[in-house]
């Protein structure tokens, strides 16, 4: 058997961690660049190879139509669910998508679990080259508020990546595990987890018993479509509007320019967590540079609605745990977005307590996943997680109403039995519709599955079929039926309303072998080419700028020659040569970049003066 790891499959970044056998401490595993963060971006090369992480993120700028980010937003959802997302995210959904979304990347289509499996495979590779051993099992984290379909999709992704998913663990619970282990604190803890695309709040009780420590989740709530992405969208829309007014440039929201702007704005957002002002300088295609000073106050006014949206789930989770804010012993912040000062202040005011930020908010979930992976690998020794189901499980009854059979915040595994019979003589089937959610009508809840119980012909009311609904420790539904008259067990083929069936997965597993093992050198070539294309396109753009005419002829010739040699090198597969030519072109264009930047800033400032007069 191979090694076991914990994986945080995030909206923006993904990480892989393990527990060091010597120290017993969890640690994140770095990738080839030395960073432990793997951007959750996937790009498909025209030759069919798959690029993941930082190189894919760079490709987002030059080949947005072959690249995808934030795919987690699409997991376990149907085409009709994501219409609102399509306005904000550059997802190209295949119009032929039915109950499972298919995303167009270049000339290929993939389901969200397949795209996520590429990210998982990359992390598996990181861990394997770190250990020098195979990794075949994993604990993967999911937002606590993920529903059944979203969890199933994540599990499918693990399977497609060649991993046995031993457990799905809720992200805030994983964070609490890492935190509790680190701080050795006990009592009632609230975990506020705002990531790139999802928000969770969990209330836990950390209990010491004779056998060991128990992490018991009392309640959880959240929003699976609320996160840093939403802040970025607000910022981007705001600046688009400004550029439209100022320069009359209305660029397509999902094109290359939009991706570049988004990247710069994210940097501004990060900067404003450290300093109180930051300046945006963004070169426009018309040769102007859009310059704008942002203050932290202005950013906070813009993002306040996003922060406020997190508070209703916080209040609900506390009410469900029957606790007042003051009754909590600790508050822990998790997720990169909680670095935002406004969020820290808001949480601190609400709980009247300084939140914990000692652990790296990007890494803490992966570290907790590694701890749980270690527990499962060794058998429970001195720690046990008791988690809950975030949403009530219900069955549709007459008139489209929902009868709740397992209430939200029930400790999992949890189950419920329902007895069914027939309404007319010789009825051979009973239709059952399983839902998840808190609303009273079936149409307002999430459809999980529909199935038909087969009944042998009998007078009405005579058959007695007991159906058992069970939510397992992953938060995933299982259904079994038993004919109480014959004692016969039925196996139920539950066709998920939004998800892959077994046949889909089998087919994808076969296909995935094509993509599976690209060797190291091949990946190096692809990454070097990506970088070369980036700098070539940037150079071409710079040379097209009217200001480039200021460049002396000899220098212009040098740049042209470097471009030509790099273009030649890219055709071959010597990645070292490509890298050398990239460096050379970088040196050759240094002066060009200076000329453009200074003249652009000048124009921008002059423009400003003129406008002010």
């Amino acid at each position: 058997m191979g090694k076991i790891v914990g994986i945080d499959l995030g909206t923006t970044n993904s990480l892989v961690a393990y527990v060091d056998a010597q120290t017993g401490e969890p640690r994140c595993i770095p990738g080839p660049s030395g960073s432990t963060l793997c951007p959750s971006v996937v790009s498909i090369d025209p030759d069919g190879s798959i690029i993941v992480g930082e190189p894919a993120r760079r490709r987002l700028l030059i080949q947005p139509e072959r690249s995808i980010y934030s795919v987690k937003r699409l997991m376990g959802r149907g085409p009709s669910d994501v219409q609102s997302e399509l306005k904000l995210f550059p997802f190209r959904i295949d119009p032929a998508s039915r109950n499972v979304i298919r995303v167009q990347l270049g000339d290929k289509v993939f389901t969200p679990p397949e795209i996520s499996s590429f990210i998982l495979r990359e992390l598996k590779n990181w861990a394997e080259s770190y250990f020098g051993e195979t990794v075949d099992r994993a604990v993967i984290t999911v937002p606590a508020y993920f529903n059944d379909a979203q969890r199933q999709a994540t599990k499918d992704a693990g399977k497609l990546a060649g991993l046995e998913v031993l457990r799905l663990v809720n992200e805030p619970t994983a964070a609490a595990l890492a935190y509790g282990l680190h701080e050795k604190r006990r009592g009632k803890v609230a975990v506020y987890d705002l990531g790139g695309g999802t928000f969770d709040i969990s209330v836990l009780k950390l209990i010491s018993t004779g056998e060991g420590d128990i992490y018991q989740v009392l309640s959880t709530n959240g929003d699976t479509h609320l996160g840093g992405d939403d802040i970025d969208n607000l910022l981007q829309a705001f600046v688009h509007e400004q550029i439209l007014q100022h320069d009359q440039i209305d660029f397509s929201p999902h094109g290359e320019l939009a991706q570049e702007l988004r990247k710069v704005l994210i940097e501004i957002k990060h900067q404003l967590s450290e300093t109180t002002t930051a300046t945006l300088r963004f070169p426009l295609p018309n040769g102007n540079v859009f310059v704008r000073e942002f203050t932290r106050g202005a950013l906070e006014a813009l993002i306040r609605p996003v922060v406020e949206r997190t508070m209703a789930p916080v209040k609900q989770a506390l009410a469900d745990a029957q606790l007042k804010p003051s009754e909590l012993d600790e508050v822990v912040l998790v997720g990169g977005t909680t670095r935002t000062p406004l969020i820290r202040r808001t949480v601190q005011e609400f709980f009247d307590r300084k939140p914990h930020t000692e652990l790296n908010p990007d890494e803490v979930v992966a570290l907790g996943a590694a701890v749980q992976a270690n527990i499962l690998d060794q058998g429970v020794k001195d720690m046990l997680l008791l988690d809950v189901t975030p949403l009530s499980l219900g069955i549709e009854t007459y008139g489209g109403a929902v009868a709740k059979v397992i209430p939200r915040n029930s400790t999992i595994p949890a189950s419920a039995q329902e007895l069914y019979t027939t309404g007319v003589d010789n009825q051979t089937g009973i239709d059952i519709h399983v839902l998840q959610g808190e609303r009273e009508l079936a149409k307002d809840c999430r459809s999980l599955a529909r199935f038909t119980l087969r009944v042998p012909p009998a007078p009405a009311g005579l058959p007695r079929i007991e159906v058992k609904f069970l939510i397992d420790a992953n938060g995933i539904l299982q259904v079994a039926a038993k004919d109480l008259r014959t004692g016969e067990q039925h196996t139920i083929e539950v066709q998920p309303s939004y998800g892959l069936n077994d046949a889909d997965i089998e087919r994808m597993l076969e296909e995935s072998i094509e993509y599976a093992e690209q060797d190291f050198a091949e990946r190096q070539v692809i990454e070097a080419r990506t970088e070369a294309e980036l700098i070539l396109s940037a150079t071409a753009k710079a040379l097209a700028n009217p200001q480039a005419a200021q460049l002396p002829v000899t220098e212009r010739q040098k740049v042209d020659a470097s471009v030509a040699t790099l273009q030649e090198a890219v055709k071959g597969s010597d990645y070292k040569l490509i890298r050398r030519q990239i460096d050379e072109l970088n040196r050759a264009t240094e002066h060009l970049a200076e000329v453009l930047m200074s003249s652009a800033v000048q124009t921008a400032l002059e423009g400003k003066k003129l406008a002010e007069v």
């Binding site: 457990r167 060991g212 046990l384 997680l385 209430p407 029930s410 949890a414 397992d472 420790a473």
Partner: protein, 228 residues
């Protein structure tokens, strides 16, 4: 506290070593996790008599202790069959704890296993002496819905409904109090070894109180929803 009733689980045969065993969780012969014996119930799972007063701290301790033993985390590398049993046992443990922890669910469950109430049944019973008040309440609710739809002033209607909400809230407290003393009566009857007929009478009264409670609670929830 009063004396505990002896718990007698029916003997069963271990699925693994086929020895007859009286173990509650693990087979004393081979150490394997056992299926829950036929006819066992939530009270038996916690080694409690079928009484309605439960000491909560002790219940929680027992729950945590059993969770250590039964949780699927312990059986990740066990055989498929053991994993199945662990999943079943720990889900039953969680279902039992969820039910017994909640005083209302606990009464409903007791009546269900005693054959007095269908499991999951939620019969709402309008208390006759409240009919007039309920009629008025429903009228006010209709008026408020109409006023909302027309966009006219709802202040006085809201005031009336808030008063009604308070009044029914008090009635809910009354029912809860009545349930509590009836539960005490049940426990005393068990301790005194009451006969089937006497126990049946108390259960019928408990059942009626539950139906009454469910009706009033539903009213309160409906009013709260309209007032939001």
């Amino acid at each position: 506290m009063s004396t505990q009733l002896p718990i007698t689980n029916p003997p069963l045969v271990c699925w693994n070593c086929h020895e007859r065993t009286i173990g509650t969780h693990f087979c004393p012969g081979c150490g394997k996790l056992l299926q829950l014996p036929q006819g066992s119930d939530y009270f038996a799972m916690f080694e409690l008599p079928r009484k309605l007063w439960i000491e909560m701290d002790a219940l929680e301790q027992k729950f945590l202790q059993l969770s250590w033993k039964l949780h699927p985390d312990n059986f990740v590398s066990a055989t498929e069959q053991e994993r199945e049993i662990s999943l079943k046992r720990s889900s039953e443990l969680n279902d039992a704890y969820r039910t017994l922890r909640d005083p209302i669910a606990r009464v409903e469950y007791l009546l269900a296993i005693e054959g007095m109430r269908k499991n999951g049944e939620n019969k709402q019973q309008a208390p006759p002496e409240l009919l007039e008040e309920v009629f008025e309440l429903n009228e006010s609710l209709d008026e408020l819905r109409e006023a909302k739809a027309e966009g006219s002033d709802t202040a006085s209607l809201r005031q009336r409904l808030e008063a009604a909400e308070k009044s029914f809230g008090e009635k809910l407290n009354e029912v809860d109090g009545a349930l509590q003393s009836k539960a005490q009566e049940w426990d005393d009857a068990i301790d005194a070894g009451a006969n089937v007929a006497d126990r049946g009478k108390i259960m019928a009264q408990l059942n009626e109180l539950l139906n009454r409670r469910s009706y009033i609670r539903n009213l309160v929830v409906n009013v709260q929803k309209e007032l939001l």
